[in-house]
Symmetry: C4
Subunit: 215 residues, 4 copies
């Protein structure tokens, strides 16, 4: 492997830790929940499962190939890769994503309870933060049902990704949301916009304001 | 350009980054939204568009003259100036502002949904933080309708500034707020007071307390 | 003045700045509002008026004697002492307080709107954080009406302090709260407990739970 | 005592301070309330009572044996061990806990007011963060009544621990919650999951969503 790529991967490890700390502060990764993976070329850095997300260190990461085979493990043999790994890989494979964020934000969970099969909102500026969307567009996020085990979500996540070719996120009812983008910055921007819109929808419901303009 | 002014502009670049980080933490600049510009003499420092606002660096800034011509660009050719630039310049030109803050705070968005053409509140101590206002005054903030493109807001923002000569802020429905002041500190103080008042109004509505005292 | 006292006063200046930063983060001192004073022996350190509370520096403090005469001013001649100074001095003089905290917390403002002349709550563990109170006691905080100018509050604040000899706080309607204690730590502990109780009362009202147990 | 254990205990003291600071930021340890103890072998590190939890230092800790006798005190003779000590020891003794967290989170207090003798929730992903629980399980947390003095809670806490052999937490009505785990990380993970679930339950009630699925 060329030296430059090793260096890039090294700093990406630190970035994963910084972002995990930030997502913890946002309430997206409390109780060791939530997660992030970042792709560097043909490799994907995945955080370990069940660790305090705000205290992760660069050497705790796993490395996978884009087709899902394990390339590298941390020295600490007690660590296992995130249970989201197969879900992360689905978004990477099906959408050529450069990064995937999984959040347990309470705003995502509440949104999944306020809507039936699709979260729908229109006419909020932050909709423009989602790629391909403008202010007047109707933003639709599919909602899939949760399963007892995280890995059992993969089939329905893949089906939702296929059924909603314009979406960059899939809500998981009573669980959270998966958001992806072409790189970490794009994924983060979209994850923040979706989270804002989930929260805005609940605020609007509480105040009796419709979340979609009648036409 | 005299040496002193260069040095001042340099530290102002760092200040823009510090304030952007603070506004991110306040929820005003999530998803790369929101922004700030600061005027130094006849120059205006403007942040780039679409970057993570809590990670901006001093060398990423654009410099404009007060009349809106581009004086300096960052070395990174991928950066474009904030889409708010023409709106920032409107407040600088029409009100001789020294700094303009654009926030996507959810409190501003909710306030824009709870009121029709004007946000109105009276008898809260924080009203005194708005220049020229006292506790018993009726604080009025005009609300303009959002547009699909940010630059298309300029005409209605300018009209609102002209129609409300005492205001230091204009709400943009379903979008956020623009706030200005004679320098960065004055703009920040007023932006924090407005945000507090927007939030207080929603709390009062939820609890059935009128936002204006009947006379 | 003995050397030790000078050193103590010096570190107290840094402490005032640290606490002001913390109160800003708690939402008590936004928009340059709120404040704190700490007494060191016969001197009282008072923060300046109208500055960004999270950016204050030790050399910006004013020093007053306990009887209210100005002993020392910061080098920056543009600074004026906090408008709360006469109110701070009232609590110091009437209650021998070692520190006074003034907060604009939205929880205090909402509490002042939910209750008439007195905020009353009972049977919450955090009541025990207020000196002299136990879990089953009825905590009463007097509410005084706000005035157009902060200095005009002094007479009614003093009257409330006299009328409620057990209170360590006075709410100011539509404005905030003043809390004092025998030293900075005691004042801070009580200010945090009062703020928690103000917030709890609003939560209980929203959920239809009485804030006082019927006997 | 072997050298290694002394070193481990030393770094655990720093960890207690870091976690206390984190719990303060989460609103679990405001007004000097809340606390944490961590067991190292046969010793238990206990924080002092009535101190600012975000400013604790490693040398302020008390050391107890697992059977509750005091082994070491801080040099500052004004400090007393946390009033939670007997409650911490109950969880350590009865459940072989490696760490116990006591939180005054307003979400725990609100949950204790929304439910009668048991907090019950089902079908939220974060339930899986509680040891032995899966998504479809019914999570039950016993609620005991508060007492005027914290030490008087020990008998009913012990009774609840005995009556609910699967629980890792006990809610104290109008007060907060005790959570334990096999080590600090496990206790923290569970405390964050419980807190999230308490908050989610209140959100669901406010929005008219049942906290348990009808079967």
């Amino acid at each position: 492997m060329p030296r430059l790529m090793i260096m890039e991967a090294t700093s990406t490890r630190a970035l994963v830790c910084q972002l995990a700390r930030q997502f913890y502060d946002l309430g997206w990764a409390t109780g060791t929940g939530g997660g992030i993976c970042i792709r560097v070329g043909e490799q994907v850095l995945v955080a370990p499962s069940g660790v305090q997300k705000e205290r992760m260190t660069p050497e705790q990461m796993f490395t996978f190939s884009v087709d899902g085979s394990l390339l590298g493990s941390p020295a600490d043999a007690a660590l296992r890769p995130s249970e989201c790994t197969s879900l992360f890989m689905a978004a990477i494979r099906l959408r050529d994503a450069g990064a995937v964020i999984h959040s347990h934000s309470i705003h995502a969970v509440v949104a999944s309870l306020l809507f039936d099969r699709e979260f729908v909102i229109s006419e909020l500026e932050m909709i423009k933060g989602i790629e391909g969307m403008s202010f007047h567009d109707r933003l639709v996020v599919p909602i899939i049902e949760n399963t007892a085990r995280e890995c059992d979500l993969a089939a329905s996540l893949e089906a939702a990704i296929a059924a909603y070719p314009r979406t960059h996120a899939v809500l998981v009812r009573r669980h959270g949301v998966y958001v992806w983008g072409r790189d970490w910055s794009h994924a983060k921007t979209q994850a923040e916009c979706y989270d804002y819109l989930f929260r805005a929808a609940a605020e609007m419901r509480r105040l009796g304001i419709p979340t979609e303009r009648s036409t």
